[in-house]
């Protein structure tokens, strides 16, 4: 557990997290490993985990009829995915697939939600870490939507 706590504290998402919070969060964490090509979750599944990538690369994909799967974002070391863990009805809205051998910390979503609910200071701290990720994702999605390199580039 101590080892996991160190790994958690070293991940950029939790950088500088208060020691007591780190112990609390660590109670919801476990190591996860995925082979290249392995699906980590599927759209519509219950979002019962939140992942902090340590090594490797993960593709977030959506599938459209007749067009197969398209990747809209890839994530690497230091990044997180599965933010639906916080928003009802807690369902994945995309598929996540490891496209390289990947190591991650998997956070049990219900466990983390309960701890955030019970300890609002922890909850607020986690929220302050998540918001910049969400804002950045929203911004980059907007830029992607502009199709800058397209015909009117």
């Amino acid at each position: 557990m101590e080892n996991l706590e160190r790994i958690l504290a070293a991940h950029p998402f939790f950088a500088g997290l208060d020691g007591e919070f780190c112990t609390l969060a660590c109670g919801c964490a476990k190591n996860a490993r995925f082979d290249a090509g392995q699906f980590i979750c599927h759209e519509g599944d219950s979002a019962d985990q939140f992942f902090l990538v340590r090594e490797g690369r993960v593709a977030l994909q959506v599938s459209a009829p007749g067009r197969g799967a398209s990747t809209f974002l890839t994530l690497g070391p230091g990044e997180v995915f599965g933010v639906n863990w916080l928003v009802p009805p807690y369902r994945w809205t995309y598929d996540a697939k490891a496209i390289a051998p990947t190591r991650a910390i998997s956070m049990d979503a219900a466990c983390l939600r309960n701890k955030c609910e019970a300890n609002h200071s922890l909850g607020y701290d986690v929220m302050k870490r998540l918001m910049p990720v969400l804002v950045e994702r929203l911004h980059t999605a907007r830029v992607q939507m502009l199709d800058l390199y397209g015909a009117r580039g």
Partner: protein
């Protein structure tokens, strides 16, 4: 004609296109082609990385197109995206066809200022074409520069211009190359996401680094802002601007941006010079 005599002639008669012929034509992406040109008088055009020529499709018109070849030698190379009448006519030219060339014009990339510094090139889409001469120079005179990094964003994997060359740069040990696309099918195992997401993964010393950015204006704006956040000085960030051009010698005013003419004072400017104007809509 000697190269020096030709340069003098081009300088003396900047509005008169010289005839060249297409010697090679390659399709780079679904809508962009690269043309190898040879001047009819046998001279070689001497140019600096980042400069552009006015190319004439005879009977159709003229367009500003950056040189995309190696300033150290080889044919005169331009990479053109077919977006309108002139660029469509230029990209339809076949080997042996004549083409008009005026130039080179403008102020190019700050190669001398980059010496001794980490150099970060950030290209979006066809923006890699005007940056390629700078990259050739950086690699050709590698010892003069610090860490060299190319971050390149394209629309899809099929839109990666100079794909084989990008792969060969990736295989080198003296340059870091990272590529991302905005959208990809699941077979693509590279990065997907906007080009700014590559910045946080790149290694450079922002206090002793210089950035050269080329791509759509919105992309350049966001990249410049991200670099400032990483500690780059605004005057260490250079962007290549595009505006409609007619004379290319600072006479007609078509390419005016604030107090500057892009054809004469640019197309390469520092972010410090441009920041104010980039924020003004429809300028």
């Amino acid at each position: 004609m000697s190269d020096a005599a030709f340069a003098t002639l081009m300088h003396a008669q900047p509005m008169v296109p010289q005839v060249a012929h297409v010697r090679g034509r390659r399709k780079d992406t679904p809508d962009a082609w690269t043309l190898d040109l040879e001047l009819a008088n046998g001279a070689r055009l001497i140019y600096a990385p980042g400069q552009f020529n006015m190319l004439t499709a005879f009977g159709v018109g003229e367009a500003a197109i950056s040189v995309s070849g190696d300033p150290a030698g080889g044919p005169l190379i331009h990479t053109i995206r077919a977006v309108g009448p002139v660029s469509r006519a230029l990209t339809a030219l076949e080997p042996g066809d004549p083409i008009g060339v005026r130039g080179p014009f403008g102020v190019g990339w700050p190669m001398a200022q980059a010496e001794g510094k980490d150099v970060l090139l950030v290209a979006g889409g066809l923006g890699l074409a005007p940056l390629r001469p700078a990259l050739y120079r950086l690699l050709g005179e590698r010892a003069r520069f610090g860490r060299v990094t190319l971050l390149f964003g394209a629309r899809t994997p099929e839109d990666i211009v100079f794909r084989h060359e990008v792969e060969s740069w990736r295989a080198r040990f003296d340059i870091d190359v990272d590529v991302t696309v905005d959208h990809a099918a699941s077979e693509w195992h590279g990065h997907v996401g906007v080009v700014t997401t590559l910045i946080s993964r790149a290694t450079f010393d922002p206090c002793n680094a210089l950035a050269m950015i080329c791509g759509p204006e919105v992309m350049m704006r966001f990249v410049a802002m991200a670099l400032v956040e990483k500690g780059f000085g605004e005057d260490a960030i250079y962007l290549s601007m595009e505006r409609n051009m007619k004379c290319a010698i600072g006479h007609c005013g078509h390419c005016q941006l604030g107090p500057t003419f892009i054809c004469r004072d640019g197309p390469v400017f520092t972010y410090a010079q441009l920041k104010r104007f980039l924020a003004i809509k429809e300028l």
